[in-house]
């Protein structure tokens, strides 16, 4: 029998499998699901993965289980090298082009994406937090990698309301990849193309939740599901508190999950008299 998995688990697994040993990866703002994927790679096929963070201001070879209360500790307790924010974005990013999985609020058929606002910028229906450094790296990187935790026609739109991440650039072929909770995609002839569907998902399911007509790879593949060992690592070693799941739920359910995680982490910290969890 195939193991049962959740959307966060197949996304983390797809992120992990894209990475190669020795890669340097960057953890962005508020993206615990990517960190789970990076650590999964480090625990499986990429033990020499180098982790960097503009949040923790450091580059490190070590990891800790995902934490909400102590999220800086993984970066600051045993850093390979400490950096500050301008050094990371002006020196590390343009030169080393670290791998980074970015989460768009909207993505369109050209592969452009948006984290700035929904609606017209001058009169937005919803102001979003902003794009961090996405507008800085996507014009120059040879690789653009995205993830969408909840596949929805409001995310996959014909044309984004504001381009804060650059997708297709004519005459500049590059590796564009997206994984959602339903499927994986690439960019083919300047348009988003469905590459594989996750187990149990049909082409019609994906098209129904995508706001533009999809190009489909021939033959359409099926995403390799997480193995039992990958699931065990994610659930028991990397993220026992389930912080990665904050990205796949919304609204009241998300608030409840947040309360639960905070409660459980405070409980476990009380049991463990040390102020910070140990580094692996």
């Amino acid at each position: 029998m195939k193991p049962e998995f959740t959307p966060d688990e197949i996304i983390a697994t797809c992120i992990s499998r894209r990475l190669r040993d020795g890669d340097i990866v960057v953890q962005g703002l508020s993206t615990p699901l990517t960190l789970a994927g990076y650590i999964l790679a480090k625990c499986t096929h990429a033990p020499n993965l180098v982790l960097a963070s503009a949040v923790g201001m450091a580059v490190t070879l070590d990891w800790k289980p995902l934490s909400l209360l102590y999220d800086e500790a993984m970066w600051l307790d045993r850093p390979l090298r400490r950096m500050n924010f301008p050094s990371i974005c002006r020196e590390i990013l343009p030169t080393l082009e670290p791998r980074e999985f970015l989460r768009p609020a909207q993505v369109d058929r050209r592969g452009h994406f948006n984290n700035v606002c929904i609606g017209d910028w001058h009169r937005p229906t919803l102001r979003l937090p902003g794009c961090g450094g996405i507008a800085d790296i996507t014009p120059i990187y040879r690789r653009v990698e995205l993830y969408v935790p909840r596949h929805d026609p409001r995310v996959f739109v014909e044309s984004v309301d504001f381009v804060s991440g650059v997708g297709y650039v004519p005459d500049r072929p590059r590796d564009w990849f997206l994984v959602s909770d339903l499927a994986t995609f690439d960019l083919h002839e300047g348009r988003v193309r469905l590459l594989t569907v996750h187990p149990g998902v049909s082409l019609d399911d994906v098209q129904a939740r995508t706001g533009f007509p999809l190009q489909v790879a021939r033959p359409l593949g099926e995403t390799e599901p997480p193995t039992a060992e990958e699931l065990r690592l994610l659930r028991e070693e990397i993220d026992p508190l389930g912080i990665r799941k904050l990205e796949t739920v919304g609204g009241a359910a998300r608030m409840q999950l947040l309360r639960d995680i905070i409660h459980r982490e405070r409980q476990s910290q009380r049991r463990d008299s040390r102020p910070y969890p140990t580094t692996q």
Binding site: A58, R90, P129, A135, P139, V163, I262
Partner: protein, 261 residues
């Protein structure tokens, strides 16, 4: 002036209405919450709030009606979601937004440090940022001819920075999460450093030099409820309580209670 120590109210009195106030720390880490609370008490308004990222501290300033303009690349509460008062005000068109990204902030501050008017970068090319920042110009690279963006120098009027330890000269230890505070401490005209403790001589290497620091204030627990690694972690329950209060239109009562702490 060598001894820059003073009371928090005295330091905040140096901030004029309409100032560009740069906020130290990053995300929910080592934010100058004590200084922000004093700013709210003093009702210093019409502020431009600038930060590499902005979060709880700036959301409170927005909710308190003291902010006219924001300049940042991310305004949110990390795992705690959207910054509620910012999101409401910005979606209602009640705030002026000067779009920034990591590179525009970093280049802007580094241009000031280098005493040039801009630093060029290939960032933003192909995005919509230039459309909404008509003040930012592109130039041709004089060597290759490539078009790049000339990110203008940024000079904050004020920097608010919280440290673990500071001496009376303003030399300070930041505890690892350095954020953009080095650049802020050298570019702002008024630099207010609050610290968990003020000591005659620092116990370890300084992360900030005191030369441009104008005020040093002892403010124990002055970053809470954000973290002050490694002295204390973020107070997640307090941040959650803020979000829940705002969701049920309770910002004003939250603010009153917070000002009394």
């Amino acid at each position: 002036m060598t001894d820059k120590t003073c009371a928090l109210a005295q330091a905040v009195a140096a901030i004029a209405p309409g100032s560009t106030v740069a906020i130290g720390g990053l995300m929910l880490h080592r934010r100058p919450m004590a200084a922000v609370r004093e700013l709210v008490r003093a009702r210093v308004g019409d502020l431009t709030v600038l930060g590499a990222t902005l979060g709880l501290e700036a959301d409170i300033l927005v909710g308190a009606g003291l902010v006219q303009r924001v300049r940042t690349c991310y305004f949110g509460l990390e795992a705690f979601g959207l910054a509620p008062m910012f999101t409401r005000a910005a979606s209602a068109g009640a705030l002026e937004i000067v779009e920034e990204t990591e590179t525009s902030v970093a280049c802007g501050l580094r241009a000031t440090l280098a005493r040039v008017g801009f630093i060029a970068s290939p960032a933003w090319i192909g995005t919509d940022f230039l459309r909404v920042r008509p003040d930012v110009r592109t130039i041709a690279d004089p060597y290759s001819g490539e078009v790049c963006v000339a990110f203008p120098a940024i000079v904050p009027d004020v920097a608010l920075i919280h440290a673990l330890e500071a001496d009376p000269l303003g030399n300070a230890i930041l505890g690892g999460n350095l954020a953009v505070d080095w650049e802020l401490s050298l570019t702002a005209r008024t630099v207010i450093v609050t610290a968990e403790r003020v000591v005659p001589r620092l116990s370890a290497e300084a992360d900030l030099l005191g030369q441009r620091v104008t005020h040093v204030v002892a403010a124990p627990h002055g970053a809470a409820p954000t973290s002050c690694h490694p002295l204390y972690p973020m107070d997640a329950q307090a941040i959650l309580a803020y979000v829940e209060a705002c969701q049920s239109d309770g910002f004003q009562s939250y603010l009153r209670a917070w000002l009394e702490t």
